[in-house]
Each structure stands twice: as C-alpha cells, then as structure tokens.
C-alpha cells in the first residue's frame, strides 16, 4: 500500500506532463496564397435560448481539422495572422462564437464544412454547414445557432451527490453549514481540475465560471445591512421600542402583544429577523417574568410576526434578497406584490393569537403596583443610549430606504444602497460613538454566513452546469403541465412552489433551498405558458419565508428566540413550537395561495 500510492501519484504527474506537452504543441499552419475567407458565427444555447458558454468549437473541412484565425493580418499595423490554440475557439458568456477560416481560393462553396462542438456535461457532436452566404468575392459567412444536448455522466452524478451531501450535513448538523458548503465547492473545483484533466467527463465547472455564479449583489447587500443594524443597535432603539410598547399598552397584555407583533413585523421588514428577535426577546421575557405569565405567550406571536414581516420587502429575509437579485426584481416590485398579502397574513396571525393566548393573558399579575414597578425597571434598563447617533442613524436609514425605492429607476443594484448607507453610518459612528472600525467590521458582519452564501452559489452553479437543475426543473414543468385536477399549468406551478417551498423550508435551511430553487423557477417562468408578472418568484418568496414558522428549526430567528427563552428558564419543545407555528404556517400559506391565484392576477 505504501508503494502503490506514490506510484499512482507519479503516474498521475507523468501523464499530466505528457498531456500538458501535447497541449503546448504549437499549431503549424500554412495559409493558402490566395484564399476564401469563411466566417462561421452564431450562438451556443439551450432549447430555451439560454446561452451556453465555454463551448469548445472546432471547424472540420473535408474531414480535416481547420486552423481558426483569431486575428487577421493588418498591413498598416504590420501585424501577422494569429491562430487559435489547438484549432479551437470557445463560446463567450453570452453564448456567442465566431470562427474564421481560410480555404484555398474558389473551394469554399464546394467544401464539406462541419462544426465540431465539445463541452463537458454535453454530448460532443458535429454539425454540417450547408449553404454558406457569399458577401463579396472570396468572402463568405454563415450564421449557425447551436443547441448542444446534455450528457449525463460522471460530472452530473458528482454534482448531484455533493448537493445532496451538503443538505444532509447541514440538516443533521454533522458539519457547520459554512464548512459543509466550503467543502462541497472546493471538492467540485478540485475534481474538475484534477480528474477533469485526465477525463473531461469529470470536468464540472471552471474557476472562472464558479466566480460568476457567486451573486455579489446578495453578498454586499447582506454585508451592508449587517453594518447598518450593527450601528443602529448601539443606540438601544430596538429594546426602547419594546419598552414604549409596554408603556402604550398601559398594562393591557393583549394590547401589548398586538403592538409588539406590529412593531416586530415592521422592523423585520427592513432589518434582519434574527437581530430583531435577539434584541426584542430579552425585554419581552423580562416583561413576562415580572407579570408572572409564560414568556412564550408573548414570544410566540413575536417570532411568528417576525417571519411574516420579513417577507414583505426585498431586504426583509435572505431568501427575498436572493430572489430579488437573481430575478432582477426591485424593492418596489416586492412591496407591490408581497406587502398587501403580508398585511393580510398579519391580521390572520393577530386573530389566531387572540384565540390561542387571549384567555391566558387575563391571568397576568396586573396590580397597579406591579405595572408601575415594571415600567420603572424597563425605563432604567432600556433607554436610548446615544440620541445623537440615533437621530443620524434614522436619517441614514430613511435615505437608504429611499434609495431602495428608487434603485430600479437608477438601474442600480440594491446592494449599492446598503453599502453607501453602511459607509455613511460607520463614519457617523466613528465620529459620534468612537467606534473601532476594525472591531465593528470583524464583529458585526457575519463572515461565516457570507462565506456560506458564496460557496453555496458555487455548489448550485455546479448543479446548473451539469444539468441536474435542468432535470429537476423539467420534471416540475412536466408535473405542472400534467393538468392534474384539471388545473392550468401556471396554477399548479404556483401551488407546488408555495407549498413545497414552505414544507422544505420548515425542515431544512431555507437558504440552500432557495439557492437551489432560483434556476428552477427561472426555467419554469420561461416554459410554463401564461406565467405573468413574476408570479412564480412571489410564490417562492412566500413559501420559503412563511415556511420558517412551521417548526422550531425552520428559521434562525426561532432558534435564537428559543435559546434565549431556555436560558430564561422557559424552554420549548419541538412539538410545542409546532403546535402554534404549524397552523399559522398553514393559514398564511392558504392566504398566499388564494392571493396569488385569485387577487394578484387582477391587480398586476
């Protein structure tokens, strides 16, 4: 065994040298004295017109590989003809390719010309070129759009196994989710370059391609918003709002619960749900403990409201950020399509919570002395810590929200609004609160989350490259078009996306699930007839976000709330959370389905 491994390694290195040697052989090219110039151009694209990049193209003339010219000679500039390495050109990111060949004079029209295409995960094939068009004497052109066929091989199975493995590693908490995604992305690239070097069947995606799959708009938007929240929370505004809610409720617990639900949903629509709950949970528990009621009677409505409220805008929840960026939907698109249904769901939540906890709230220890005592305690603990910073922060936040509203008009990515807001706020925080910038950037930005997103985009990108996503999307499209229950394909697709996304998000992390669904929904939006006004994207947003209410592990905000409550002596079991959260999820999904199918088409 000790000898075998080094021998294999040496063989691998030796063979790679031989291969590299072959690769570097310079093409010996003879240009005919007088020639016909033939330009072959077009696009490599899928059946649905999506560009297929990095397709290797060779030109075969009369059975022989033909040198391809990448730059023609220019007498004025004194430049020589340049030829493509290995007699091949590669299609660009928009799928376009151009191959120029020189043939002996007066032979072009009679020549047997074929285009040979080659791309890992696609079938290699030759396409016969018929009827080239003469432009001038000795100059010909032919447009040929090429649709390569998928090849299900080693790359396909590897990308599928790695994607499934990442889901398993994350769901069963075998590995930290950032490490799981990092491992998956690095293994995919390693296999592509090392194994793919010997056998193109193992080539999954290039490094360049992997970089292109990372959606930096999502990364920068998350980063910007994390910094904005990081500065704002230093002012104590969130906890102060909870204290003010208690003050406004004047000892009426039901009124307090309603005010807190509305405040939480509103804050969650603009800021991260996890931070919102992390800051509001302690003060809520304090109120409940002093009033001698179970903290969960207030926390449950709050966390459910947070997950519902986060669905209302582009920046409310990570799945929305991902959807908005991928589908190029603006902040206002989200507000118009989702905010009304979120408001209806909030009303439904308030009614459900009234039935669930209404009677219980009456048991609270509400002596005037107790109410006053709590008010004094909260006022002391939860006050605005820096008024000047808060005032400036609010001005910047309003400015950022205005930029979000206008980003579509300026054709500006929403991340730019978040980044400019974060930069301005940081400057203000440095001047007014003597903030240590390095510490702030190190502590307030969730680096593991950002790395997780980046690696996840690569893993899903690999599944797109190898055709796995296409396969799933085709299956969903076929199910939607099956006419099941006499329903139109678009109706079936909306129902499927809302409900499957919600149930999956209640069980597994909704971030990898949404990342996987993005290219699937993009495909479905193209192939399903009568899909209008981005309805499938809204279905995905509603399903992925509302699904978080279904179980304790459905959303990070639930986990943080449960963790703090446990440390406050009020643990919750998985089933107890589900008893309240699951019915809320079902009701909000029913409302979403009705809204999407019957109301949305009439208002858009």
């Amino acid at each position: 065994m000790k000898i075998i491994l080094p021998v294999i390694l040496l063989l691998l290195i030796f063979s790679s040298f031989i291969s590299a040697e072959n690769h570097n052989q310079e093409t010996q090219v003879e240009i005919p004295g007088e020639y016909d110039k033939v330009v072959l151009t077009g696009k490599t694209q899928s059946f649905h017109g999506e560009p297929i990049h990095e397709t290797k193209i060779k030109i075969i003339v009369n059975g022989k590989e033909q040198p391809i010219i990448t730059r023609e000679a220019n007498k004025e500039l004194g430049t020589e003809v340049e030829f493509a390495d290995n007699n091949e050109v590669v299609s660009a990111s928009d799928g376009e390719y151009t191959a120029i060949i020189y043939l002996p004079k007066n032979t072009a029209e009679k020549a047997d010309i074929k285009i040979h295409i080659e791309k890992p995960t696609y079938k290699s094939r030759e396409i016969e070129i018929k009827g080239i068009t003469k432009i001038t004497d000795g100059e010909y052109i032919h447009y040929k759009d090429i649709t390569p066929e998928r090849h299900i091989g080693a790359a396909f199975y590897i990308s599928a196994i790695i994607l499934i493995l990442i889901y398993i590693l994350i769901s069963f908490e075998i590995l930290h989710r950032t490490l799981a995604a990092l491992l998956g992305a690095s293994v995919l690239l390693f296999i592509s370059y090392v194994f793919g070097h010997f056998n193109t069947d193992f080539y999954i995606l290039s490094f360049e391609n992997a970089k292109n799959y990372i959606d930096f708009n999502v990364i920068y938007l998350l980063m910007g918003m994390m910094l904005i929240v990081g500065v704002m929370k230093r002012t104590g505004i969130f906890q102060w709002m909870a204290f003010k809610s208690y003050q406004a409720a004047k000892g009426d617990i039901w009124k307090l619960a309603v005010i807190l639900m509305i405040v939480t949903a509103f804050v969650s629509a603009f800021l991260d749900n996890v931070t919102t709950m992390l800051l509001l949970t302690p003060v809520t528990i304090e109120i409940a403990l002093i009033l001698r009621i179970s903290p969960w009677s207030l926390l449950m409505p709050l966390v459910l409201a947070s997950n519902i409220g986060g669905t209302a805008t582009l920046i409310g929840d990570p799945p929305n950020i991902m959807i908005g960026s991928f589908a190029k939907l603006t902040f206002m698109d989200f507000v118009i399509a989702l905010t009304p249904v979120v408001i209806i769901c909030m009303v439904a939540l308030i009614i459900m919570m009234k039935f669930k906890y209404g009677k219980y709230y009456k048991k609270a220890n509400l002596t005037p002395e107790n109410i006053e005592k709590l008010l004094i305690r909260l006022e002391k603990e939860y006050k605005i810590t820096n008024h000047a910073l808060l005032n400036h922060s609010l001005v910047i936040l309003i400015f950022v929200v205005i930029l979000f509203i206008l980003h579509g008009t300026f054709h500006m990515e929403p991340s730019i609004a978040a980044l400019i807001g974060a930069s301005l706020l940081m400057i203000i925080a440095v001047v007014m609160d003597k903030v240590d910038v390095a510490h702030m950037i190190e502590r307030e930005i969730e680096w593991p989350t950002l790395v997780f997103f980046m690696m996840l985009f690569i893993v899903v990108g690999a599944a797109v490259e190898t055709g796995l996503i296409q396969l799933i999307a085709t299956w969903v499209a076929n199910v939607s078009s099956s006419g099941l229950g006499g329903l139109a394909p678009v109706v079936l697709a909306v129902i499927l996306i809302i409900w499957v996304s919600a149930i999956m998000s209640a069980i597994v992390d909704n971030i990898p699930f949404t990342a996987t669904m993005l290219p699937i929904v993009a495909y479905l939006s193209q192939v399903i007839p009568n899909v209008e006004a981005n309805i499938l994207w809204w279905a995905l947003a509603l399903g992925a976000c509302f699904g978080g209410n279904g179980t304790l592990i459905g959303a990070s905000a639930n986990i943080v709330t449960a963790g703090i409550a446990e440390k406050g002596g009020h643990p919750i079991t998985f089933i107890d959370f589900m008893k309240v959260g699951f019915p809320v999820m079902i009701v909000t999904l029913i409302i979403s389905t009705i809204w999407m199918l019957f109301v949305f088409p009439h208002i858009m």
Binding site: H176, G563, I564, I572
Partner: protein, 153 residues
C-alpha cells in the same frame, strides 16, 4: 458538617424553582448564607445563523437583564419565606455553566451547591446540547468539577 454558604444556580425554570425552594429550606434550617447564581451561557448561539459569534455580545447583554429578573424573583421568594435579606445574595456570571458554578463556589467558600436536574426542564435546544454527552455524564462532570457537595434536585 456546618453549612455556612449555599449557592443555588438557577435560571428560573420549573426544575430550578424546586431547587430554589430546597436551597431556601436548607439555608433556613442551617442559618446559612444563600447566593442565587445566574450563569449567562450563550452556547445556544452556535446554532444560530453563521455560528452566532457576531451576536454574542447582544445575547450576553440580553441574558444579563433576564438573569437579573430571575435572581431578584428568587431573592424575593427567599425573603417572603422568612429569610433575612442580609443572608440572601445574588450573583451573575458569564461563561460555561459548570466552570462558573465552580468559580463561584470557590470564591464564596461554599459548602453546598444546589441545582435543578439539567434534563428536568430542558427544551429542544438544551436537550440537543446535553444529548451530545448524555445527561448522567453531564451531571457527573458537574459534580467532579465543582469540587464541593452538590445537590441535584
């Protein structure tokens, strides 16, 4: 053996309230000083998005306020049950629960530590964290680590 100082580690749960009652009863019987201890433990944040390191400070300050309420309520109860306010103290510490109970016991020269059984009122997350090493093993480790008499109620 004289019991001069008792530490009751509590987080205000049902199980902990039984431990609080027991500690008050023993303290009254022995005229001991009773310290209610709340340990701020943010291990659960590891399960939050991104490992939760980014928000530990917020979790600590939030739990500090909650802990304050919990130990104040326990103190009120001890006084209501007849203990002298001078004999009831409260303390908050931050870190690993077992280590912090040990540190507190050493600093106060405690003769007895009273705690609720860790599994009696653990929720989904705590069960998950405890199950990694097993409840019995957790209790055993706690007893070994604290180094004085430990009563698990």
């Amino acid at each position: 053996m004289a019991i001069n100082t008792i530490i009751c580690a509590t987080k205000g749960s049902k199980g902990c309230k039984i431990a609080e009652d027991k500690a008050i009863e023993i303290a009254k019987e022995n005229n001991s000083k009773l310290i209610f201890l709340y340990v701020i433990d943010t291990k659960f944040m590891e399960k939050a998005r991104g490992g939760g390191g980014w928000a530990k400070d917020d979790a600590v300050s939030g739990l500090k306020n909650i802990g304050g309420v919990i130990i104040d309520i326990a103190k009120e109860k001890a006084i209501e049950m007849g203990m002298s306010p001078d004999d009831v103290l409260t303390e908050e510490r931050n870190g690993d629960i077992a280590s912090q109970i040990k540190n507190s016991a050493e600093e106060h020269n405690a003769d007895l530590v009273v705690i609720g059984h860790p599994e009696s009122d653990a929720g989904f997350l705590e069960r998950h964290l405890i199950s990694k090493e097993g409840t019995e093993s957790f209790v055993k480790r706690l007893k070994e680590k604290i180094g004085c008499e430990v009563m698990i109620v």
